[in-house]
């Protein structure tokens, strides 16, 4: 269940900080795929937490 708190923290933290994503559009030097990369990392993190949750529930 502690995993759920991490997820809540991630989602609300992401919600507050997400406007930072917007600045990359068309900026010289900013990689165009950066938001997708961050998003991909977030998905990987969720996948990892999902596995943790399964273990937590099994206990």
């Amino acid at each position: 269940m502690y995993v759920y708190r991490i997820v809540l923290f991630l989602v609300f933290g992401g919600y507050l900080l997400s406007p930072l994503l917007m600045s990359g559009w068309g900026s010289p030097g900013a990689a165009w795929y950066r938001p997708f990369l961050i998003w991909g990392v977030l998905i990987a993190l969720t996948l990892w937490l999902e596995r943790k949750r399964k273990l937590d529930e099994r206990r």
């Binding site: 919600y15 997400s18 406007p19 917007m22 068309g26 010289p28 998003w39 996948l47």
Partner: protein
Amino acid sequence: MSLTGLMVLGIGYMLVLFLCALAVERGWLPSRLTRHPAIYTLALGVYASAWAIHGSLEQAGRSGYGYLAYYLGAAGAFLLAPVLLVPIQRMARTYQLASLADLFAFRFRSRWVGTLITLVSLLAVLPLLALQVQTMGNAIQLLSGGGSQEWLALGFSGLIALFAILFGARHTHLNARHDSLLAAIAFESVVKLGAMLALGAFALYGIFDGPGDLQAWLDGPGHLEQAETHPLAPAQWRTLLMLFFAAAFLMPHMFHITFAEPLNRRTLLRAGWVLPLFLLLMALPVPLILWGAQRLGIDASATGTAYLAFGLSSSWWVGALAFIAGLAAASGTMIIISLALSGMILNHLVLVAHPPIAQPDLYRWLRWLRRGLIAAVIVGGWLFYRTVGVHHDLSTLAMASFVGMAQCLPGMLALLYWPGANRKGMVTGLVVGVSIWLAGLWPPLLGAPSGVVLLPPGLEVLADEPDWYLITLVSLAANVLSFILVSLATRTSAGERAAAEACSVDAVVRPMRLPLVAGNGMEIKQHLARALGEDVAEREVERALAALKMSPLDGRPYALRRLRDRIQANLSGLMGPSVAQDIVDRFLPYRQDGPGATEDIHFVESRLEAYRSRLTGLARELDGLRRYHRRTLTRLPVGLCAFGEDGELLMWNDALAELSGIPGESVIGAHRDTLPPPWNELLGRILAEPHSQLYKQPVALARGQRFLSLHKAALHGDHGDPGGNVILVEDHSEMKWLEDELVHAARLASIGQLAAGVAHEIGNPITGISSLAQNLRYDTDDPALLETADQIQQLTDRVSRIVGSLVGFAHGGRHVTGAAFEAVSMAEVTDEALHLIHLARSGEDIQYVNHCPPAPRVDGDAQRLQQVMINLLGNARDASEPGGRVIVDAEPQGESLLVTVTDEGHGIDERVRDHLFEPFTTTKPAGEGTGLGLPLVYSIIAEHGGQIDIESPPAGRANGTRIKLWLPLNREDAESTDEPDPDR
């Protein structure tokens, strides 16, 4: 592309969709595939509507990465699946709630709340439906350059409606499994994702020379074009994120797929990362297509940014890919929206206005009504597009829709996390929010120059912000504020409080225990038939019984309450929670004449067991403690049961189940009087007793007569709260039997002592009589007197034998050490015993066979063993018929010699067999047996450290008796037996 080619492409795609659904429906595809969790997860891709294909391009052209809000908002909602979606799914599953309106009507205990939510959903969804139709119409117009886009769009809408009717409205229950429909929607998700990825790849490698070239273009010439976009302000971005977050589970089509279709909890949790990944892949090609179009210099003002993908190449397949992607997205969304909305309209508008009481052929009536409503919803969407949508861009339509639907967000969050919220507060907040939304965003939609936006004092600085942003802020703020204030200021009804507890996250329902008027499943059918008709009542009750694995004759109050709940939930899936509750309350009422309602502890426990994995922190620790105490009671090695105040059985532990042979599951929840005999009478007696104990009550159970002691204690709380009684049931049968044995043994011991004394006392006179008889023989030659003297001597011999046996038995209990023992051959002992037996006049025609081998020998006293064999052979002789055989045999068995004496006589009565070694037990006629022979044998064998057993009849024979003696082998003989034979 020609119009005909486009029509062939579009209709061909729809045909493939029909085929896909048909293949699943007919079972042409293995169910392992069609019921795979991936199908459900992909079906959630219905979220990516035509807005994801065309609207996102429009949004990206205006505000750059702002278009990502649509995807990230939904991804956020699914990341929160464990704390947000799973509780909603639990409620929807438990109470068979198929739509947002069902959920709100259930929680706020009002049919009018359901009606209100249905109306809001209908108004909010119309612009979104119009958006789907518009993208189809515009795509056809742009690609073919001819034809009437509106009527062609109507044609495609008709095909979509037909599909929804054929594959979505086949079942009457809204929560039924729609495998074919889900598979088709999953297929559409794959098609639109594949098409978008292909378009993105074409832009990246066909227009640019890969990622490096794209980056170089963005850093160079493309930079100026990107500078023309107007990134969203952080507050606007967050508002947009929140709107799409709400849309991900409030929009009727998303609610339907996520909660009404039977996705299991694990699949929903897995969707927490799979759907965000799907949306990432859907979002990735959007900027690539936009930048590709900008690189090519396509004039967006001619086609509209939303449709730039059609101009990426002159090749027909690029346009075809974009068309198919849009069609797949629009059709999937329209199908599910029409299904979801038709159910809501049916349950919360039509059935509320026209309750289906005693409707003939209810299922058919509901099915056709639903089909008509599906068609009406899609035609409504087309009409809205035709009259309103054509005048607006995609963003205006989408924002009108999403802001409207977000008005249900405060209610939904309160439903999950605020048990104090009440109906008046929710309705007030919703009406205020929806009014602001209608006044602010709908006038421009309907052609007015601008909407009415009333900014609160101090917020005038926001006047220049976009309408959607202002209306969202003001409407949601007013909605939340009025909701909270009215909820706090008004009273919450008891029904609402109970429903709030059922809906709250981490809450466990605490249902009350009341008996039903109906006494079993059959009576429930009869009661329900008055509302639903015979056939429907029969089917609904059978369905609920099958789901609960219950018998229709089960009359346990607990089971009947579960059956009532199940029927209500099933009817809720059929015609909505409001109508279902009305029917169940009216036709399956609770009895009002019983004792006051108390909590249904057993139900609460079963719910706690089911929710165990969701408990955390202190709740989990307490649950651990509860389980420990529960286990202690369940596994207590003494029978235990507990009754509520109303006489309903709440607990029946393992020991009692074993003692009674009645499993707990079959009786828990039953009333005391309906327990199988003798338990109903026995437990009723202890409960009625003023004393709290009943000792050693004789009870006839399946395993024979038992003696049970019962103790009871009242369970009422410290403040006199009713709590029922707990009863301990102890099986004291063994102790009772031991006591009886002890009394019997004491009686025998005194008789034995008396007999020994008598024997001793009469021994001397008998010897005297025998001597006198002997003298008489010498004193006379009279044959008559001689015969008399002879008879006197015989009789005194008999008396002496009896006296000798009595004295022998009286001394039999003494311990004889093995020091005096010697090696004895049982063959010799048996021969000598046979010799003595042959001296007797009776039994001359019995054939005696001695098979005993001379070795090995046993350790023992030859005289006493001979006494044993005389007794056993004498008994065998007496039991045998004339001409019968008595066989004596022996064989070593481990460290003993097994000696058997087998006869072919009438055998021993089963009732006597267990008491044969007790003194004075005999099967012989009175006067012929003393009943001391076998007890003497037993005591001699015990002295020798051996054992004795009786088989009657012997194994494999129809009659006869076999006495088996185990005597310890002589040590020397035993060693020689163990040594291997060198000759072998």
